[in-house]
């Protein structure tokens, strides 16, 4: 009898919700990670919606979040997460809140909320998923594991100390039985790190520090132990992963003190770097540093996009980043060797490019007590919103800003603290740019009228389309090859996340967030 019961229990136990094999496939009926898959391309093979019929794409549903009074922690309730979709259910999060909704019609299935101990409530990128379990991070630096079926909390574990001014925003990345978590917070010079956590218990499996300790490689790029220990380098964005090489690629944050570099002379490794880590050990295999000795808040956390391309007639494993400092970089992702370094907006802060292909910062363009005039502003040539790469066009689509700031050094002490400076933005112009991955040349650009900028991510599809937002609140579908807008819809506010797409019942949906609302678009007319 006992055996029979056990057998019965086993027989009716449901299959785990996320099949791990889905993590290794291009996103179609499933969008299982922040970037849709491990490559960071945000390219969907779906093509039901395409250049010839997108004009008829229409609103299928909306879902507006309600985080209650004060729920935005001073930032309003803006959805910056890219939702994940698994077996017809969509999961997404904002600071201290998480939801599951029906991906077919936007109906709420559950809403989880957790009390906070503080931390800057600026944003949350959403979930990672392992089987039946969801993982997200909170502004007070807890990794929360929820049951995807009902949103019930399984555990909530502290990964960083909010009292030291850490706050956490990234979406965890699940690789086999590693839940890779990062931390954020550059107010008061704390050191950054990346950890693998156990999906069942949350225990640390490995940890990689973004700044060396005395005697370790990279320590020669810092003046002393104190500077390394207060050197910053946050891990605030999800990385990408090559399963064949078993390498996890991550862009790291800016060094601290943020704008006062006089107490940390040197390149300040491994801040503002693209690093390749062994996914099972966390050991660094190679690095490339887009911004040595950064003093402009230009972190290098922008998605390291994995491209399987062709260079000089040979197939190559490549990695592209349009970096916040205004430069496009193309690297060999096996070795980290640089192939292309090219600005995609006007920049005036470098003295040239070194032998490794890294920009050489001009000390005169560091923040000065009486101001230095620099392009771009601290918001950068681009920022955290994810770009997209289409293998069909060979173009990397990047939301860009051409901008100027006056950078002031306010702390002239030998050992400054915090930011030690600030910048006054003057003006900015936004454009969506399509960059040829092989050369860094801008093949087409759609410039938005007026000044200012938005923070929209980008999606491209096999339907020959690129989806993104503009600074005015439009959600736009472009012809991926030529850059012509083919469709648009003006939402209640500017697009605030990376758009994503999935297929259900033979129908392709495109979902985007603008502020507190998710919008689901599809071809809603009946078709045969």
């Amino acid at each position: 009898m006992k055996h029979a019961l056990l057998f019965l229990a086993a027989a009716i136990a449901p299959a785990q919700i996320l099949d791990p094999a889905k993590l290794l496939q291009p996103p179609t009926d499933t969008w299982a990670t922040y970037n849709g898959d491990y490559s960071g391309r945000r390219f969907s093979p779906l093509k039901q919606i395409h250049t010839k019929n997108v004009a008829a794409m229409t609103l299928a549903w909306t879902y507006r979040i309600n985080t209650g009074p004060g729920g935005g922690g001073g930032f309003g309730s803006s959805i910056k997460a890219t939702p994940i979709v698994v077996k017809g259910v969509m999961y997404f999060a904002t600071p201290d809140h998480a939801w599951a909704i029906d991906a077919r019609n936007g109906r709420e299935l559950w809403h989880y909320t957790t009390p906070t101990k503080g931390g800057i409530h600026i944003g949350n990128r959403g979930f990672g998923m392992y089987g039946d379990w969801l993982y997200f991070e909170t502004p007070d630096n807890h990794l929360v594991s929820l049951n995807a079926r009902d949103g019930k909390e399984r555990w909530k574990i502290e990964i960083a100390d909010v009292k030291q001014e850490y706050f956490s925003t990234p979406a965890p990345v699940v690789i086999r039985n590693h839940v890779i978590v990062g931390v954020g917070g550059d107010s008061l010079d704390v050191p950054g790190y990346l950890e693998s956590r156990d999906p069942e218990t949350g225990a640390v499996k490995w940890r990689w520090n973004t700044t060396p300790r005395p005697g370790e490689p990279g320590a020669e790029t810092w003046p002393n132990k104190d500077a390394m220990e207060h050197g910053g380098g946050m891990t605030r964005m999800p990385g990408t992963y090559d399963p064949e090489l078993n390498l996890y690629y991550l862009g790291t944050g800016n060094p601290n003190p943020v704008m006062a570099g006089q107490g940390r002379m040197g390149d300040n490794l491994w801040t503002c770097s693209i690093v390749a880590l062994n996914a099972d050990t966390g050991k660094m295999v190679w690095y490339f540093q887009p911004s040595p000795h950064d003093t402009h808040d230009w972190d290098a956390v922008q998605t390291p996009v994995l491209i399987d391309g062709v260079i000089d007639g040979k197939p190559r494993k490549l990695l592209a980043q349009a970096s916040r400092n205004g430069y496009y970089f193309l690297l060999d992702r096996v070795t980290g060797k640089r192939l292309v370094t090219k600005p995609f907006i006007p920049v005036n802060w470098t003295k040239g490019i070194d032998a490794k292909g890294q920009p050489i910062p001009d000390p005169k363009k560091e923040p000065q007590p009486d101001g230095s005039l620099v392009a771009p502003s601290s918001n950068g040539g681009t920022n955290w919103p994810p770009p997209s790469f289409s293998p069909d066009t060979g173009l990397l689509y990047v939301q860009t800003q051409s901008s100027w700031s006056i950078y002031y050094l306010t702390d002239t002490e030998g050992k400054p603290q915090g930011w030690g400076g600030r910048d006054q933005m003057l003006t900015a112009r936004s454009a969506l740019k399509a960059i040829d991955y092989r050369t860094g040349d801008v093949k087409w650009s759609h410039e938005y009228p007026g000044r200012g900028f938005g923070m929209p991510g980008v999606l491209s599809t096999a339907g020959g389309l690129v989806f993104t937002g503009d600074p005015s609140g439009n959600f736009i579908a472009y012809d991926a090859a030529a850059g012509k807008p083919l469709w648009h819809s003006r939402l209640t506010t500017a697009v605030s996340n990376g758009p994503m797409t999935y297929e259900m019942d033979g129908r392709q949906y495109v979902v985007v967030a603008a502020g507190d609302t998710l919008y689901g678009f599809a071809m809603m007319a009946s078709w045969k």
């Binding site: 800057i120 917070g185 550059d186 944050g253 601290s378 923070m455 005015s472």
Partner: protein, 301 residues
């Protein structure tokens, strides 16, 4: 680091001309300001302790100590601790930095630093201050918190002297590049009496409406005008809105007109941006030019 976000809200105010951005940015600025507005304090029963003041910034997520408590703590600190740890608590020749000390950061009201102060750290040469009272320890904790928050709150960092150039060279640059639109005896008369040098520096480079959220609002200059030609119909007025798909204006009677641009024969749109000259100059300044022009403008009191 994490931009998304907020620096745009307090560093970057929308230029006063109408643009695709203005509605959004203005809304964001307003809602942000509203979010920071301290709520009205509830009525306090007689004899109750005053509550901590409202947080001064979104960057500050912990209670702000009362100023008078932090000041008393500063006096105690400077007298007892400053010799080794530095008068600003950033560390001295003998004692470490206390602003970024993990113990001081984890401390809330003296419960962690109190035992260290009272017992001392004999192997590191820190003497015990056994007679320090609980109140005094809380005051020192309040002082250290205020130092931490001063380092965190970059919105309040003070900019040093920016008037470092050569006025004569600045005047010559002005004559070559700016005098076509501006005159020291006309629109710029007394500009330096209305704007402090930091605000003036940002505004002459690009006339943003606010500088670090401070300084008086400057009277609106010329509006951005637009001419829309739709077939034989020509409409002129103040630009109210433009994006990739539509444009709108107010005519001289105050009537509103808007036009679709994503149509087979879109109207012709000619925007006359009075700030185009400022934008075109940005790539041409050396930092010396910037300092020289400011030093000249500062003489226009």
């Amino acid at each position: 680091m994490q931009f998304h976000r907020f620096r745009s809200l307090f560093h970057f105010s929308p230029p006063r001309f109408a643009s695709s951005r203005i509605t959004l940015a203005a809304l964001l600025t307003v809602s942000f300001a509203a979010a920071q507005e301290p709520p009205a304090p509830p009525p306090r029963p007689a004899g109750a302790k005053p509550s901590a003041p409202a947080k001064p910034s979104f960057l500050i997520s912990r209670p702000v100590p009362a100023a008078e408590m932090a000041e008393r703590g500063q006096k105690l600190y400077v007298a007892q601790c400053g010799f080794c740890h530095g008068t600003n608590a950033t560390g001295g020749t003998q004692g470490p930095d206390l602003v970024r000390s993990v113990i001081a950061l984890r401390d809330d009201n003296g419960e962690l630093i109190g035992p260290v102060i009272r017992k001392g750290v004999p192997d590191k040469g820190v003497p015990p201050f056994a007679s320090m009272t609980d109140v005094q320890i809380r005051e020192i904790a309040a002082f250290l918190r205020s130092r931490q928050q001063a380092a965190i709150n970059r919105g309040q960092y003070k900019i040093q002297n920016v008037v470092t150039g050569d006025a004569a060279q600045g005047q010559a640059f002005f004559a070559r590049n700016c005098a076509g639109c501006h005159s020291p005896a006309g629109d710029l008369k007394g500009i330096a009496a209305r704007l402090d040098p930091v605000a003036l520096q940002a505004r002459f480079l690009y006339p943003v409406t606010r500088t670090f959220g401070r300084g008086p609002a400057v009277p609106a200059g010329k509006p951005t005008m637009v001419t829309v030609t739709a077939g034989t119909r020509v409409l002129k007025g103040r630009l109210e809105y433009v994006d990739s798909f539509s444009v709108s204006l107010r005519d001289e009677h105050g009537d509103y007109h808007s036009f679709a641009l994503d149509v087979p024969n879109p109207p012709k749109v000619d925007i006359q941006d009075p700030l185009a000259g400022h934008e075109a100059l940005l790539p041409k300044y050396t930092d010396a030019d910037m300092h020289n022009v400011l030093t000249y403008l500062v003489t226009l009191k």
